[in-house]
Symmetry: C2
Subunit: 157 residues, 2 copies
DNA sequence: GTCAAGATGACAGGAGCCTGTCAATATGGG
DNA sequence: CCCATATTGACAGGCTCCTGTCATCTTGAC
């Protein structure tokens, strides 16, 4: 390991913690959604179209993912009967992804479990600590977004 | 969305921030390692065997990943000439993954870039905020680990 | 020394994300 | 109306993680 400054060490510690927590959160999400026959990724998609049918591309933009990633998930959901493609009056080719009754049932079930889980987690964490963690992570995220954007620009024209 | 308590809302905010930051960190890692011909995952493996050759299974345990995940990465690194499999005096079948000269060069290059990046990031974040963020995330992680372990036990015999 | 149990790598297959390419469709300037 | 451009879904393929199965090798109890 190269010698890091003390501040850089602290930042690296944050990175490690975020990686670990992220992994655990994904695990928890899969565990919450499994009883409903879903996974984290599929549940997220159902959540997006809960307020109304949308095209795959629109869902992808909402989730901040690549179009084709959502396409794959949506096709899987369709073949499992959780969603269906319905005609889009505004576009001949781009059909809308719509919840089926089974999809809505599954979504409600996961949301119920998720609410209980979030309550359980939050109840055992000091509110002040939670708030400062969110604040710190947000700062780091904003800083990182700026950094990545700068490099982006320097790689263009 | 189901009605969440205020504390649950705060926890959910933390989850969202962690997901976003994690994604950006992966992106940054790939960007740091790309100039050396590596990716985040491959760089991590090189880092583990930097202090000495090790078997695939040992690297996997160190990284907290499944054995076969590391196997795939190690095979890819070997076919790209960054590592080589060397005889293991303690085990006939399990060879050790060892850095080649090219692998060591690439690793040093990434570590240099990573150190500069960590300095840059850390320099623009208030130390107190960074510290409290790490503390809060760690608390959440520990809480979540406990929760997942409980469910684990309840799913066994 | 023998044999069961555990560890290990090879192989197969899947999930979820990504990229790139292509043809079909919308959209908007002229 | 026409055509360049952008958007969209289909298709192909890659990366990183996972799981499960199998034969081989090691280890430890007896």
């Amino acid at each position: 390991m190269p010698p890091l400054t003390r501040k850089a060490e602290a930042f690296s510690a944050l990175v490690l913690e975020v990686f670990q927590l992220n992994g655990l959160l994904l695990q928890a999400g899969d565990r919450l959604s499994a009883p409903a026959g879903l996974t984290s990724a599929r549940w997220q998609v159902l959540g997006v179209i809960d307020h109304g049918p949308a095209t795959v591309a629109a869902v992808a933009r909402t989730m901040g993912l690549a179009r084709q990633s959502v396409q794959q998930t949506a096709d899987a959901l369709a073949s499992d009967g959780f969603v269906e493609y319905v005609e889009n009056p505004h576009h001949q080719r781009a059909k809308c992804v719509s919840l089926t009754a089974a999809g809505r049932r599954a979504l409600r079930k996961v949301e119920q479990a998720q609410a209980e889980w979030a309550d359980r987690m939050a109840a055992s964490l000091a509110p002040a600590l939670l708030a400062s963690a969110v604040k710190g992570i947000r700062e780091a995220r904003l800083r990182l977004e700026k950094d990545l954007a700068v490099e982006e620009r320097s790689h263009e024209g």
